[in-house]
Symmetry: C2
Amino acid sequence: MKVCLIGSGNLATQLGIALFKKGHEIVQVWSRTAGNAMDLAVQLNCQYTNEISLINTDSDIYIISVADKAIEQVLSGHFCGNKLVVHTSGSTPMELLSPYCENFGVFYPFQTFSKSKKVDFGTIPICLEANTPQNLEILKDLAQSISKNIQLINSDQRQQIHLAAVFACNFVNHFYSIGEGLLREKGIGFDILKPLIVETAAKIVDHLPKSVQTGPAIRNDKEIIDKHLDFLGNHPDLQILYQQISDRIIQTIN
Amino acid sequence: MKVCLIGSGNLATQLGIALFKKGHEIVQVWSRTAGNAMDLAVQLNCQYTNEISLINTDSDIYIISVADKAIEQVLSGHFCGNKLVVHTSGSTPMELLSPYCENFGVFYPFQTFSKSKKVDFGTIPICLEANTPQNLEILKDLAQSISKNIQLINSDQRQQIHLAAVFACNFVNHFYSIGEGLLREKGIGFDILKPLIVETAAKIVDHLPKSVQTGPAIRNDKEIIDKHLDFLGNHPDLQILYQQISDRIIQTIN
């Protein structure tokens, strides 16, 4: 397909590369920042622009992958005519596109992306939604060209998926960071924690997380919990978090 | 070495199996519960007992792998004479063993263990501490027979490592559980979250967590944060957690 990529952030970059590698023609990259648009366009062997008015009008699909609040601003460019337009946002209902487009949908690859870290798209769930069955078929074809994991997900579900990801990915990463900081205080490198972090994630591939919960809270081991709260004396904010989450885990016993 | 295994929990089970496979002779398993001792003894081709007074006295090393509060109770059995005794606890200072033993130390494999999930010990950090250089050498030899990742860690550091693990492993797993519950509310299976969870953990193998933080909080995206807080209206406890952790992440910006 002839793809116009609107955005040049982490997701746009990785998605553009995946589509390009599978033989899709990337016609153009738009980004508010010309330098970012150019950097990605070089990788995708295509044109670029930072003017909304110069977005080309002859692509088969327009993939809008910008910050949620910038989606409508971009759409005001009226480039799409009757062409298919999708956004890639977890938290934006599909209907936001309705006033601007005849044919529209959502193409949400559910993964955490960094510009610099290569990602294997093959197993990433791609959550699709479209305003007509015909458009859904087009999105399925496009998605299946880069992933085996296609999911039909409505806007209500997609927003919940995004919320779940904030806990299970974004907050989890912050907790890795808390661990790293605690180790650093005692002169211990972060490396020692890595096998544990990787194993903790690997466990849930075959088990429900609740069934493999370990640690002092799930044993209701008040002695260790109190000891840890004591160690956290210099971190009253972490003390509160430790207590709250331990209480939550204790409540799941039985 | 001739090993006596005192305990039959998750760690004792996996450690016993790893030592047995590497050719060490497991002489005996003790557990408070005869059935548990027997189950493990069958796997390790050895004797078992649930009587502290019947713990054998001719092993080279006694590995005490029981709940922290049961360690001293077990030691009251006076089985060790001048033999080497270690515990495997993250949160118990080595000196706890001092009144009971001449030769003692700590052998702390730093990983999350379940009885049913096989673990590759080869890369697990084993944190060692001993009361004499000679005993440390013995522990190093034993540890190196099952892992390449040997760490010399004192009691103060080990307790901090355990605390860091509660955040980066136990609490993380609980957050997977929160994600699973949120998905379930909307009829979505947990599978969709798994690639994201595995990738989030994989990222920190080569990056400091802080440098790969993603999500609405690190972008200070108040619109999405407010939307998520709104979605969590039926979960006031999760609302509070979401706000607290988002605030912490926002504070790390710049």
